[in-house]
């Protein structure tokens, strides 16, 4: 592996300081500092200085592995991209994968062994460990982990159990699937993983489910979803009944906001329609039409109809959905669960707490988990762990749990580790490091091996050992292929043929006392493990556009009833526990339901994440619950700022022009766009070798933000921090505007990614006094940072407001929480870091265009269609972003520009944008 070598290119801030003295320097000689070039002593294999290298690797989310490709330059990982060969990446990424490079270089990562906070040594630890486990077979020894599906880790745990037979292993995952597991037990008598073949469904009914939301299955689902929305494909009809907005709900053709209790009744009604006899459903009449239509269409589409239940639904509803799907012959595979433990997650967590308080343990190892944060305060885990004589925490950070333990052992980041993992369907892939460990850390497997005395074991050997035993044929060849492809061939599980139990009666949900809390993992920091990642903290929540915190989302009705205005700080009280956060009212959310996100309110996340937002998972008696009743909402005495990157999501009567919506019928009648240009007095643009253009399909876009973080990683876009956000400042080159507008009789929400429009008649250019904003011959509107003097006339005159100004030295001296220095290593060396006082903006990944052009020119050919891919385009799981050359009449973008749903943002200004859009399209009620 190449080692992290100091950046050989000149420190950019020095350069800027030099520039700053340019004027004076003309008078007195400016003595430029000597600049050193440090070559390798020994050049690593295959490395060309300054050229990117790509390694297939695996990153886990909630334990399940997804295969990605890591890009490193001069041995520094700088970017994560999708791995087309991996069934759960399909070449796309999500925000968590993109942000891993940020976590890798996080200066707050734990770098040393600690004993009661003080830095300690291996020897001290092993001595103490020996003490704790001497002369016993593991009696009173507990191991706590999150979900484990990695074959190697499972092998290590087996070995551990082998060495300490009577130890107890507790595994729980904060973002769990207990309801689905229980539902499967009811339906099939065993736990299974059910994977819908979404793309095969013509009609989908989602009962509070969010298959398009973040999670281990998002990328596969999103791609399937998009495959039914491309031009010409038979469009899917999606019905969603849900309490709070989900990305799936936003994508649905027909959505109805209902309380969880009503969703149970809807399930009952649909089941009855399929021939079950579960008593008469109690459907409020505003939902009747929805239910009737959904059932009718499901019936009509037998074999191609699918019903999905959400985690917030009780096990019975999941069971019923399995039964309905069976009746409908739904396209869904039931696979053996990769989760090695039979018990449910919440159950295990409670068991752990009970055993701790019963003082059953003399030693506890918490391996890469943070139960003290995840578990509700009612379990008093911190005290429990503290009461154990020997306790050790293995983790990336000195987090809440590390504080409760005596020992803390620093964990290696995935990008510096060898390991393996499995995807939801069992597809195995290797975790391959892109860099040597930055600090003296070890992987989870190494620690586990080491705890049973194999202290020499290196992760690399452990992984190879695992696979030597279960890969037939020439191992070395398969190994190289596995590393190269990022997947291990034929490791996916085969679907089970299961006998289905007839559904027992569906219990009537008791009408909730007080308001109910609908809780889900945070769309930016997930279950809290990414809370110290500045990119993700500044990545806005899809609907509220909130950053750096979590809001209490309430229905407008409740807001009115309780006299709560947007951004008021409110208290949510439940069982004596209180959550305080700013409130935001969400048109289209069910009355009586409060929406909350886990994952914020970390107590010991690091300089970035500590104290941001409110801790939601601490409340309630039932750990990891998705739904709680009996909440009381009231205005708070405290005041917590609501920080968002978009203050206005209503379109103020400009919907027709800005966020355009069409029904399939309207589209049918619309005649195809001609691509003809409106008249202008200005001359025709000069014809260059290429005419780059982008078409963004707002119909495919599900608002997952992957493009935003991908852009940030690719283009060294700095974070600005909460204070600056409150000032109304942000730096994202690509923003996803969230809009809500009534359409027909329902509230529509949609997403509009807005990069620079690269207008042919760019308004920003003629107003720049120094030619810092100019056009090049390939139609790019380029910003020359080093020429910019910061008049900001360009942004003032930009109708799309896509330009971003460095009010402070965000990427250098004045970086938020001193991130600047730490992230030098992550910076993409092909992109300038922008200094204070200059304007910047999207440039269609100019560095990639330039790389592609040079590659082509060296071979005296032109860049091929699809050869040039922007960072946002590469990341997009739904392929909503199309990029290419308008000079080719046959190119993707040229064709899309002729599509009937094609439109130009603010066309009346005749700025001739090169970035254009496809309308959001919905099925209408009538057509089948």
């Amino acid at each position: 592996m190449p080692s992290l070598k100091p950046q050989s290119d000149l420190d950019r801030r020095v350069a800027l300081k030099l520039l700053a003295t340019a004027m004076a320097a003309t008078m007195a000689r400016c003595s430029r500092p000597e600049e050193e070039i440090v070559p390798y002593a020994k050049m690593p294999e295959g490395l060309v200085a300054g050229e990117p290298m790509r390694f297939a690797t695996t990153l886990a989310l909630s334990g399940y592995g997804r295969g990605f490709v890591g890009i490193s330059i001069d041995g520094r990982p700088i970017k994560i991209e999708g791995n087309p060969k991996h069934p759960f990446s399909l070449g796309a990424t999500d925000i968590f994968a993109e942000a891993e490079v940020m976590s890798l270089y996080d200066p707050d990562r734990s770098t040393a062994i600690r004993h009661d906070e003080a830095i300690a040594t291996w020897d001290a630890f092993s001595a103490d460990w020996g003490q704790a486990t001497r002369a016993q077979n593991g009696h009173g020894l507990a191991l706590v982990t999150n979900r484990v599906v990695s074959p190697t880790t499972l092998a290590r745990i087996a070995a551990f159990k082998n060495r300490y037979p009577s130890m107890r292993w507790y595994r729980y995952e904060p973002v769990h699937d207990d309801a689905a597991r229980a539902g499967a037990r009811l339906a099939f008598g065993r736990v299974v993983t059910s994977l819908p073949r979404w793309s095969e469904a013509d009609v989908v009914l989602s009962l509070g489910a969010d298959p398009l939301g973040h999670g281990p299955d998002e990328l596969r689902m999103a791609r399937a979803y998009a495959s039914r929305r491309v031009l010409g494909a038979k469009r899917q009809r999606i019905h969603a009944a849900e309490a709070v907005w989900t990305l799936t709900g936003a994508a649905a053709d027909f959505r109805i906001p209902t309380t969880p209790a009503v969703i149970v009744e809807i399930a009952r009604a649909v089941a009855n329609a399929c021939g079950a006899n579960l008593g008469s459903p109690q459907i409020p009449e505003d939902a009747e039409h929805f239910v009737e239509r959904a059932s009718r269409e499901l019936m009509a589409a037998r074999g191609k109809a699918l019903v999905l239940a959400g985690e917030s639904q009780p096990a019975e509803v999941h069971a019923i959905c399995h039964w309905i799907n069976a009746q409908l012959g739904a396209p869904v595979d039931h696979l053996p669960s990769q989760d090695a433990v039979e018990n449910d997650h919440a159950f295990e967590l409670v068991a752990l707490a009970d055993d701790l308080h019963a003082h059953r343990f003399r030693s506890v190892i918490v391996a890469d988990a943070n139960p003290v944060y995840d578990a509700p305060d009612s379990l008093h885990l911190a005290d429990g762990i503290a009461s154990v004589p020997f306790s050790a925490h293995i983790g990336l950070y000195c987090d809440e749990t590390a504080m409760a333990c005596h020992w803390h052992l620093p964990l290696s980041h995935a990008l510096e580790s060898w390991g393996d993992s499995r995807a939801l369907d069992g597809t195995a892939s290797i975790v391959q490091p892109l860099i040597q460990t930055l600090y003296p850390t070890r992987t989870r497997d190494e620690y586990l091996a080491w705890l049973v005395g194999e202290d020499v074991a290196k992760a690399y050997d452990l992984v190879r050992k695992t696979w030597q035993s279960n890969v037939p044929g020439d191992f070395e060849a398969n190994w190289r292929k596995a590393l190269n492809d990022g997947v291990i061939a034929n490791t996916a599980a085969t679907p089970l043929a299961l006998s289905l139990k007839r559904p027992a009666d569906l219990p009537r949900a008791a009408t909730p006392r007080g308001m109910s809390l609908a809780m889900s993992p945070d769309p930016s920091v997930w279950d809290g493990r990414f809370a110290n990642n500045a990119w993700l903290q500044e990545c806005s929540e899809p609907f509220t556009k909130q950053v750096w915190g979590n809001a209490i989302r309430i229905a407008p009705g409740d807001a009115e009833r309780l006299g709560i205005a947007d951004e008021d700080t409110v208290d949510v009280e439940i069982d004596g526990k209180t959550i305080t956060a700013p409130a935001i009212s969400m048109p289209g959310q069910a009355d009586g339901v409060i929406g909350l996100h886990w994952g914020q309110g970390r107590l010991r996340a690091g300089r970035i994440g500590t104290g941001v937002g409110a801790r939601v998972c601490g409340i309630g008696a039932h750990p990891l619950a998705r739904l709680l009743d009996g909440a009381v909402l009231r205005k708070s005495a405290r005041s917590v700022p609501f920080r968002s990157t978009q203050a206005h999501t209503r379109l103020e009567g400009r919907a027709e022009d800005i966020f355009q919506i069409a029904t399939l019928n309207e589209l049918g009648h619309a005649n195809a766009g001609t691509g003809r240009r409106p008249p202008s007095l200005l001359p025709v643009p000069p014809k260059g070798d290429y005419a780059w253009a982008m078409v963004v399909d707002t119909d495919a876009c599900i608002g997952c933000n992957a493009c935003v973080v991908a852009c940030q990683a690719e283009n060294n876009v700095p974070v600005v921090g909460p204070e600056e956000i409150s000032q109304g400042r942000d730096m994202h080159w690509l923003r996803v505007d969230a809009y809500t507008r009534p359409h027909g009789y329902i509230e529509r929400r949609g997403f509009q990614p807005v990069p620079c429009m690269h207008c042919e008649y760019a308004p920003c250019e003629p107003v720049c006094p120094v030619e810092a904003s100019v056009h090049d011959h390939e139609g790019l509107n380029v910003q020359v940072y080093n020429r910019c003097i910061g008049t900001r006339f360009c942004e003032a005159n930009c109708p799309y407001k896509v330009r971003r100004f460095n009010w402070f030295d965000y990427s250098g001296d004045q970086a938020y929480a001193g991130e600047g220095e730490a992230l030098k290593a992550q910076h993409n060396p092909d992109v300038s870091a922008r200094g204070r006082g200059v304007m910047e903006k999207c440039n269609y990944c100019l560095q990639r265009i330039s790389r592609a052009r040079k590659a082509a020119e060296k071979e005296n050919r032109k860049i091929a269609e699809g050869e040039m891919i922007t960072a946002c385009q590469a990341a997009c799981p739904t392929r909503a972003i199309h990029f290419g050359d308008l000079n080719r009449t046959d190119s993707d973008v040229s064709n899309l520009r002729k599509a009937p749903q094609h439109y130009v943002l603010l066309e009346e200004l005749n700025t001739r944008p090169r970035t254009t859009y496809l309308k959001r399209v919905f099925n209408s009620d009538d057509q089948g």
């Binding site: 200005l682 008649y761 250019e765 056009h775």
Partner: protein, 170 residues
């Protein structure tokens, strides 16, 4: 080494009449020193001339305009053409504003220089300052300036009736 006679008058009117009479008698004054401009007195002086400062400023302005436009045309069309908002390289309507200003600027600056040159200023030292009375000339008096000459002095005292007659010598 020049020496003068200064005929002092109380009012502009007296000065004007005196200057005219002197000129009619072929003894036109060299110059008049006054604390304020006196309409039309210049034509009664010896060797009257029409100052051409207006023409100087006009020419300067015209040149300024040409230079202003040329600078823009040369830089934007010839030296380094850059595509800016796809405007024509020679965007003449936009290029008219700078020349407008350069016209006025050069006319004013050149005019100022001409103003000094034609007045022979700066001249902090001037023989006339040897006369104490010149300090009143810039405050409230009127002085007709003649070459020093005894005969002339007598004539002046006789015909022009100055309030006083001063001699200027080293």
């Amino acid at each position: 080494m020049s020496e003068y006679l200064l005929a002092e008058f109380e009012t502009a009117q007296d000065a004007l009449t005196a200057a005219r009479r002197a000129q009619e008698n072929g003894r036109a004054a060299e110059d008049v020193l006054s604390h304020m401009p006196i309409e039309g007195i210049a034509e009664y002086l010896a060797r009257p001339r029409r100052p051409a400062i207006g023409w100087v400023m006009f020419v300067a302005g015209a040149l300024g305009a040409a230079a202003g436009y040329f600078m823009q045309w040369y830089s934007a069309v010839v030296d380094y053409p850059v595509v800016s908002g796809n405007r024509p390289l020679n965007s003449w309507p936009a290029f008219l504003l700078v020349p407008y200003e350069t016209t006025i600027l050069s006319a004013a600056v050149v005019g100022f220089l001409a103003w000094m040159a034609m007045n022979g200023l700066p001249k902090p030292h001037h023989p006339l300052f040897f006369a104490k009375i010149t300090e009143r000339a810039v405050q409230d008096r009127y002085l007709l300036v003649f070459p020093r000459d005894t005969a002339l002095a007598a004539w002046i005292a006789e015909n022009l009736k100055p309030r006083r007659l001063h001699e200027v010598r080293e």
